[in-house]
């Protein structure tokens, strides 16, 4: 490069950086939030509520503070969370969806958020109601937020009711029952069209690469007595896939696949299309969360409003052939609500914020964020909430603000866990029965739930090598079920998992679990 060119460049650079610097000096000093306003960041599923809308006004009246809420579309919530963490303009209160994710954990451990492990006892509504969920929501023995409750047990089997009745079959109680139903659904022409064009169970594609994914496969593993993700055997921590019970479960699942009792595209079916074969009348069994039955009711209703209530039946977890029952639980929460230290600096300020959250988690608060304003957009009948004038534009706005936005601030109530709020009324008797049955099954199966002891612990090796390690066993299982791997080859893959870092993960987890449990 010639000297002339270099000088030219230098000149240009000076000019532009000067402009840049002078343009930069304007920003920077964020206005300090005064104590009458609380700033929040919350995920959003629809259109953002108007800050002067009825719901926000009612919430502000209840908590006695102004709210400054940044609503972030759910799909990009984690991206925005990371940018927000990097920009040192944290809101006072943040919904954290992935409270085990590295960027949150590292931020929390670096002191960005309050450790609430011993601080909630004096707030009646924030005090954890479920010890199990409280443990599940821990991050390395610490709670950096208040968990947003979900049912602790949501696994269930949804079955085509009309098919069962046509073939004169009973609801399943054991894994063998389920196999017989699937077999009959495949071979005995349950839709009566004279063609063998149905299959028993609908299995979707494996979501992502993690082995423990609350998939139907995991549920069936647990039914046969395998650990939920990890479990203690003779004082040693073992993974779900390295116990004899796991192999029993594999043989069971493989029988379904080999005999054509599942959808032919079981390895690739998009989870978003899981309901379709059920509604199309191609398959008759789905193992998933119990609320899927509600979705299926709605789907059938649009096809035929007369008969929709005759098509969906639900069963709980099944016992294995020897009669022993193990049920598959969920974590019991969906993300946490954390308090950042940036503006909430002293214990007194924290107390003020927690008092606000306590009001939000109270009965009045729960009703407000999960149902709306009683007498305005809903009324209560037989303990259920019923919408009033839901075609009225103003009511639509209120309902949108509640269902797509403010419900995300619910800490003590959710669908299936009414807490202080109300469950929505379902029109048909079949659906009412289903709601009742759902609650009964949840309570019944919870007694045999097999919890995942590794939830509160984070293994550093799993963090660093997860991308390589996770797919090893996950893919091997699917390939084994598809007949592409023999049992020996599958076992060799499991050994590869141990050798590439699995052993170390187990050691780290076991160490962490003993600390949490101790």
């Amino acid at each position: 490069m010639s000297a002339a060119r270099r000088r030219l460049l230098a000149g240009l650079l000076t000019l532009t950086t000067a402009a840049a610097v002078s343009a930069c000096s304007g920003g920077g000093d964020e206005a300090e939030g005064d104590s009458s306003t609380l700033s929040m960041m919350v995920p959003l599923f629809g259109t953002a509520p108007d800050p002067k809308g009825e719901i926000q006004t009612a919430v502000e009246k209840l908590i006695g503070k102004k709210l400054n809420i940044t609503w972030v579309p759910n799909a990009e919530y984690n991206e925005k969370t990371n940018v927000t963490l990097a920009s040192d303009a944290l809101p006072d209160v943040m919904v954290i969806q992935d409270n085990k994710g590295p960027s949150f954990v590292k931020a929390a451990e670096a002191g960005a958020f309050w450790d609430l492990t011993d601080k909630l006892d004096k707030y009646p509504n924030l005090k954890p109601k479920s010890e199990q969920t409280w443990i599940n929501s821990k991050t390395n023995a610490k709670n950096y937020g208040i968990y947003r409750v979900r049912p602790l047990l949501r696994s269930a089997i949804v079955i085509r009711k009309d098919w069962l009745e046509k073939l004169d079959l009973e609801m399943p109680k054991t894994t063998d029952d389920l196999y017989k139903i699937a077999k009959a659904f495949t071979e005995k022409d349950p839709d009566g069209n004279g063609k063998k064009d149905t299959y028993g169970m609908i299995l979707p594609k494996w979501p992502g690469t993690t082995f423990s994914a609350s998939s139907p496969y995991n549920v069936m593993d647990v039914w046969f007595g395998a650990p939920n993700n990890y479990g203690m055997r003779d004082g040693k921590l073992v993974p779900e896939f390295d116990v004899p019970e796991f192999w029993e479960a594999q043989k069971y699942i493989k029988k379904f696949i080999d005999e054509g009792l599942v959808n032919p595209d079981w390895a690739t079916l998009d989870t978003a299309k899981w309901n379709d074969p059920f509604i199309q009348g191609k398959g008759g069994i789905i193992i998933d969360v119990n609320v899927r039955a509600g979705q299926l009711f709605d789907g059938f209703k649009e096809l035929d409003a007369e008969t929709y209530d005759e098509k969906v039946a639900m069963a709980g977890n099944l016992s294995r052939p020897d009669g022993k029952k193990f049920s598959y639980p969920f974590t019991g929460f969906n993300g946490i609500i954390a308090v950042s230290k940036q503006h909430v600096r002293t214990e007194a300020q924290l107390d003020e914020v927690l008092k606000v959250l306590d009001k939000l988690a109270s009965k009045e608060g729960s009703i407000l964020v999960s149902n709306g304003i009683e007498g305005r957009n809903f009324k209560v009948e037989d303990g259920f909430a019923v919408k009033i004038n839901d075609q009225d534009p103003q009511m639509k706005v209120i309902n949108n603000d509640v269902e797509k936005a403010f419900i995300q601030l619910g800490m003590t109530s959710s669908v299936g866990v009414p807490g202080g709020a109300y469950e929505w009324m379902r029109p048909s008797q079949a659906e009412k029965d289903w709601l009742k049955q759902r609650d009964e099954l949840m309570n019944l199966d919870l007694q045999t739930a097999v919890h995942d002891p590794s939830l509160p612990v984070i293994s550093q090796t799993a963090v660093e090598k997860g991308a390589t390690l996770n797919p090893i066993v996950t893919d091997a299982r699917i390939k084994y079920l598809a007949g592409e791997l023999t049992e020996e080859q599958f076992k060799a893959e499991i050994k590869r998992w141990y050798d590439s870092g699995g052993t170390q993960i187990l050691t780290e987890l076991q160490e962490g679990i003993s600390k949490v449990g101790g």
Partner: protein
């Protein structure tokens, strides 16, 4: 004189530039003489400095364990750790192979597609039909990969795929092929999706280039007795050759970038061995690890490869007598 049918515009431009190209001039003279040109350059330069070069310090996190909350100054430095993980990791060979293979297929099939379509469109003589085709084929550009994937599934699913069952009945029964699951069908599906989504949109730039051809050239060629083929060969093709060359050089720089969403949606446990590419692996690392630093390290690696490819293909283009990028 068929060989001498290059657009006069180009020749004139070359001549003009050759004539004005000065020797070395003192900076002050240059600044003064070309002050208007430099003035026009300033807003653009300002943009590049502010929004492209100022944030470049972000690349430093490839050598850190970046934690968003700690920021650039306080995140721990880890040297070449992420590069070591990348190059010595058990997945590197497979990722590199899959990425390169897809890049090669893209260069071979996806890059020429819009050129061919644009040339065919250019030969259409029914202009109403031409307009309709033109407006229809670029619509897929506006659909997200999610929608493209749903459509693909609709067509190729082993259970209800329209195309899949069509092929099945045409080929006379036998066991059904699961196009979505079998590794050997993964790459063809990716290429098909790319062709469908991008070919129409890609024609726009070539059509713009073709629109710039002087009709007098065709007239002159016809007077010289050139038939349709020779007009195409000696007028149409030379007219868009510079555009093709520039597009080829520029796209070579991003050849190693695959559309993450497209690949990710098509991946499943049965085809992962051929489906994993750098862009999807970075995503998996991100899920477990946060992965900003690793992603940046991979980005740097791909960037270096991209620079080599751009300058390499530029050099090649010049060797082949084309103008190149500069």
């Amino acid at each position: 004189m068929a060989t001498d049918l290059a657009p006069p515009a180009t020749k004139a431009a070359r001549k003009a530039e050759k004539g004005r190209r000065p020797g070395r001039v003192p900076v002050r003279t240059a600044l003064l003489r070309y002050r208007w040109l430099y003035l026009m350059l300033i807003p653009g330069l300002l943009y590049f400095v502010l929004f492209k070069y100022l944030p470049m310090y972000g690349l430093s996190i490839a050598f850190q364990d970046f934690v968003p909350f700690l920021g650039y100054s306080d995140s721990p430095w880890v040297g070449l750790k992420h590069f070591e993980n990348l190059f010595t990791g058990p997945d590197f060979g497979r990722l590199l192979f899959n990425t390169l293979f897809l890049a090669l297929l893209t260069a071979l099939f996806v890059f020429p597609a819009p050129i061919i379509v644009a040339l065919l469109l250019n030969e259409l003589r029914v202009s109403v039909f031409k307009r309709y085709v033109q407006s229809l084929i670029y619509i897929p550009h506006f659909l997200s990969w999610t929608i493209v994937f749903s459509l693909t599934y609709l067509l190729f699913s082993v259970d209800f795929g329209v195309v899949a069952s069509w092929i099945h009945s045409l080929s006379g029964g036998g066991p059904k092929v699961d196009y979505m699951a079998q590794p050997e069908w993964f790459r063809p599906l990716v290429i098909l999706q790319l062709l469908w989504k991008t070919s129409g949109w890609g024609t726009i730039i070539y059509l713009a280039a073709l629109a710039g051809v002087d009709p007098n050239l065709y007239e002159a060629a016809r007077m010289d007795g050139a038939g349709r083929w020779r007009q195409f060969w000696h007028v149409t093709l030379p007219a868009i050759r510079p555009t093709i060359v520039v597009m080829a050089i520029l796209t070579s720089g991003n050849l190693l970038d695959q559309s993450f969403e497209q690949i990710w949606l098509l991946t499943n446990s049965l085809n992962r061995s051929v489906a994993d590419v750098f862009d999807t692996f970075v995503y998996y690392v991100g899920v477990t690890q946060g992965g900003y630093s690793y992603a940046t390290a991979v980005g740097l690696f791909k960037g270096v490869a991209g620079v080599v490819l751009i300058f390499g293909s530029n050099w090649l283009a010049k060797r082949l007598g084309q103008r190149g990028l500069f």
